[in-house]
Symmetry: C2
Subunit: 147 residues, 2 copies
Amino acid sequence: MEYNFRCTCPITSALDVVGDRWILVIVKLMLLEGRYTFNTMKESDEGIATNILTAKLKLMEGYELIRKEKLPNNKKTNIYSLTDRGLSLTPLIIELTLWSDAHLKDVHDTLKIGNEVELINHDREGVIAAIKSQYLAKMKDILNPDT
Amino acid sequence: MEYNFRCTCPITSALDVVGDRWILVIVKLMLLEGRYTFNTMKESDEGIATNILTAKLKLMEGYELIRKEKLPNNKKTNIYSLTDRGLSLTPLIIELTLWSDAHLKDVHDTLKIGNEVELINHDREGVIAAIKSQYLAKMKDILNPDT
DNA sequence: CACTTTAGTTGCATATTGCAACTAAAATTT
DNA sequence: AAATTTTAGTTGCAATATGCAACTAAAGTG
């Protein structure tokens, strides 16, 4: 994978990896909406085009943010799952949620915010840990139905 | 300002505003590197082209992430400063720093990380508050030299 | 009054994103 | 087992964003 960093700054370098229009959206689809196949991702509200989805999934696999595998009994469906590296973007997702709640409600009238913000403000670390462990448990169940 | 949101998701909507290659980099230049004029920003390590810088500053002003003003005694130099909305992106910047430290050191050998990560891990909220208050004090000093 | 600084603009090339239609293999239905 | 549907893409083309390099105009400086 050809990383291409603009400079030595850690912040800019992180943005060289995840600073685009789609990667963090895809992380959200996987982490918070439980989507783990190509088709369920393409059917999301965001309406991502299939060529873009293909390209971004390939890129994210190269960056080791996600993994692509198949179940033993199905040669067709690809299961995409977040790696630890991808999962560790959870705090970023959390901060985007908080920023939206604080700053976009007035300019975006159909913005859909539930009670996540209160939960996060009450126990940020707990929410992050819960999201991660629920994700891992779910994917383990999908990839290792027994055990 | 014509916001254009893909859907009702708060995370995706936040990315509709700041999810590009430059906006958060510019926030960093202002917040952490003390740059507040066009020329000092263009001279940063990131090497941003002047047409892009012009376009992004205009966009950020439209989004009310930054403000553009002049000092009374200088009709030439524009002073760009972060609004509260822009300043509240600080936690996002912090998380990008942490993610870089945890995940890019091995693939980016010239990545420059100091002791920020320890400070953040020791007192995240304190670091965020300190960055914000130092920024506000500095800009106040520049825009209101007396008082 | 010449020179430099500041903040851009302009023209053009390349890269990224987006749309719509199409495809091939695997799985499912009849 | 043949036809249909599902899954995961690919392909061609248009539009938008990013990048490079040279240029400019107004303001400030020596």
